[in-house]
């Protein structure tokens, strides 16, 4: 076969431009269509290359369901939270839907301690971290008022994502011995959320 002529070479060199334009137009157009024209999300967690996954061991039960509290009443319980995601993440603890009547939350002290061992069914075996074990210490109203979202949440746990990690949180409440009679019959209810976001 005859080798390409000068004209053929020159024409081919111009061919590169429209080919490239078509390539990029096609790629961007198609990709944009599939990414942004769909108005609904599809459940695709299995497709995700990386995930963060968080679970606790309360099996749906409440952390506390205490009634007939009086000045001086106290209680504590542990919950073990496990991170099984494969992305490094930051875990924050915060309160949701907090409600109190008769200002009871003002008269309840609230401490959150992190450590290892222990579980929802029993705190036995719980060991606080040797340093930085205190996650929160103050009044319940202070906690539910300040830690209300991931951004304002408390905690220093940062799972690496390399392997499953479990951390146990010990919660303790105590009704102040000086709680006034005006707090009689008061209630304090709230949700606790641990949220992991990849970092």
């Amino acid at each position: 076969m005859k080798p390409p002529s000068r004209r053929a070479v020159r024409r081919c060199s111009w061919l590169a431009l429209p080919a490239a334009v078509a390539l990029s137009l096609g790629a961007v157009g198609q990709a944009s269509y599939s990414a942004f024209s769909s108005q609904t999300s599809n459940t695709a967690s299995s497709l995700a290359a990386g995930t963060v996954v968080l679970a606790d061991d309360d099996t749906g039960s409440a952390l506390f369901a205490a009634t007939s509290l009086k000045p001086g009443s106290s209680g504590s319980r542990c919950i073990a939270v496990t991170s099984t995601g494969n992305l490094p993440s930051t875990v924050k603890l915060y309160a949701t839907g907090a409600a109190t009547t008769k200002s009871l939350a003002t008269y309840v002290s609230w401490t959150v301690t992190q450590g290892t061992g222990g579980s929802y069914s029993s705190c036995s075996g719980f060991t606080a971290l040797s340093s930085g074990s205190s996650v929160y210490s103050g009044t319940l109203s202070g906690f539910t008022g300040s830690a209300t979202a991931f951004g304002s949440g408390v905690g220093t746990w940062t799972p690496t994502g390399g392997a499953s990690e479990t951390r146990t949180f010990q919660f303790a409440y105590a009704v102040s011995s000086t709680a006034p009679d005006t707090a009689q019959g008061g209630t304090a209810t709230f949700g606790l959320t641990w949220e992991a976001q990849n970092s």
């Binding site: 000068r6 004209r7 490239a20 390539l23 137009l25 009689q184």
Partner: protein, 478 residues
């Protein structure tokens, strides 16, 4: 000069492909970066939380919202509420009650925990340029091996694309046009020998440099990351409820007692017994036979209790207007180890000494069992199966009403008689504590005086419910 080599078709195809790829890549980068010139916002997708719609390394270009309200289901770029200074690109799924936008990563199991106000939305996702910013992601993650591979690949493309400059043509048909750019470079007019001029070389180098700088600028424009919000949550709940009454005193007070003797007096000789019912129906202690003590059944309460000696100690109320009550509840805390029994609380026709009419009383038999009864054409009693002379605080409560006789110990009903609904009538009635006549009652104890410690004697003109009786008892503990 060596013999010039000729172009081949195979080389021509390779060169053309390589050039197309290179220019195409530049074009992609331009798609990602150039919209910035008209105020659109290109960002690099840095996490897979929108998989499979957006992939890590994509460039997503958002156009400003302007006055437009984003449609439900659109993908929005907004300031990350959880990480100041970061951008997040997630789907807008609904408005919450406060009018905030609830967003969600397609690959996440749940909505983002913090809804965002409309004002934080930077733009609405419009263009997706696939993969083009992968080098940005790799360099941020330190994946130098990938970067090196890509650089090598690009280098190879450049080499292939620019090869053939030194090739000559098999024929030289047709008139020559002047050299034009990277394309038809290489030959002087009318000759088959490559003879690039000096000026051409310089301008080619300039062009190449300009392209490199432009490419670098494009890549740099793409370095703004968005995403980074894979999330997972786990939750629990807590509820704390304070007792409606912290103390025995407030619990009793909430039930409107007619007499309420807390026996907190600290004098063994003063005979006035303070009535805490609010009506100052001051009671009368015996002058002897009793000792104040700091012992008490109600740990949350102030004050103490009164110990009676089993031979002289007693307490009585003033006369009850209207005479003997037909509907009532009486209640008293006691702690005793006596084997001789005695009266805990009841009604008599006299304020002191043994009454002529005496019923509506709770007393302890020698066995330690409690009896509660009235006189109604005969002695009518109910009794507890268990004994309570165990030196531990107990609460005894008896009530009479149309529901009959009911005896509670420690908040639980231990005996009842629905058929007995009335006691012995009488116009003179005093509430008697620790002593009164007990002659001829069931299991009459050896002693009418009780030897033991008593506290919080209360009398109500209603029949308390079982729940009220239970709360009287639970008020004592913490």
């Amino acid at each position: 000069m060596q013999e010039p080599r000729l172009w081949t078709w195979r080389r021509l195809v390779a060169v053309t492909l390589a050039r197309s790829l290179l220019v195409g890549l530049l074009g992609l980068a331009a798609w990602g970066a150039l919209p910035a010139a008209v105020g659109w916002h290109p960002t690099t997708v840095s996490s897979g939380s929108m998989m499979p719609r957006l992939h890590v390394g994509d460039v997503a270009v958002s156009r400003p919202l302007g006055a437009q309200v984003p449609p439900l289901g659109s993908v929005l770029l907004f300031h990350d509420p959880d990480h100041p200074g970061r951008l997040r690109m997630h789907r807008f799924v609904r408005l919450d009650d406060d009018g905030l936008l609830v967003t969600r990563g397609d690959a996440n199991a749940g909505d983002d925990s913090t809804p965002v106000p409309l004002g934080t939305v930077v733009g609405i996702g419009t263009l997706r340029v696939p993969w083009i910013a992968l080098p940005v992601v790799w360099s941020r993650a330190g994946d130098w091996a990938f970067l090196g591979l890509v650089a090598a690949g690009l280098g190879l493309l450049v080499v292939v694309a620019s090869s053939g400059r030194d090739r000559t043509f098999a024929d030289d048909d047709g008139p020559d046009e002047p050299d034009d750019g990277e394309a038809g470079r290489g030959t002087g007019p009318g000759t088959g020998v490559p003879a690039p001029r000096e000026g051409d070389r310089w301008s080619a180098a300039l062009r190449r440099g300009a392209v490199l700088v432009a490419a670098g600028l494009l890549i740099a424009t793409l370095a703004d990351p968005a995403g980074a919000a894979f999330t997972s949550k786990t939750t629990t709940t807590a509820s704390l409820a304070a007792s409606s009454s912290y103390t025995c005193a407030s619990t009793v007070a909430s039930m409107s007692p007619y007499f309420y003797y807390r026996m907190d007096e600290t004098s063994a000789s003063t005979t006035a017994a303070t009535d805490s019912s609010g009506s100052s129906r001051t009671g009368l202690y015996s002058q002897t036979g009793r000792t104040p003590t700091t012992d008490k059944p109600c740990v949350n309460d102030t004050g103490g209790a009164m110990t009676y000696d089993g031979s002289n100690g007693a307490l009585a109320s003033p006369g009850l207007s209207g005479g003997m009550p037909s509907v009532f509840t009486e209640s008293i805390w006691f702690r005793t180890g006596t084997q001789a029994g005695g009266k805990l609380i009841g009604f008599g026709s006299s304020q002191t000494g043994g009454s002529g009419t005496y019923d509506r009383h709770i007393y302890m038999a020698n066995s330690g069992r409690l009896y509660f009864g009235v006189y109604n054409n005969g002695v009518k009693t109910v009794s507890s199966p268990a004994a309570y002379n165990d030196n531990v605080w107990h609460l005894a409560v008896g009530s009479l009403s149309s529901a009959g006789l009911q005896l509670y110990v420690d908040g639980k009903l231990v005996g009842s008689d629905p058929s007995t609904t009335a006691g012995e009538p009488g116009t003179s009635a005093y509430m008697r504590v620790a002593y009164d006549n007990l002659s001829n009652w069931d299991s009459t104890p050896t002693s009418a005086y009780l030897y033991g410690t008593l506290d919080d004697a209360a009398f109500f003109t209603t029949a308390l419910t079982a729940d009220q009786v239970l709360s009287l008892y639970t008020a004592a503990s913490r």
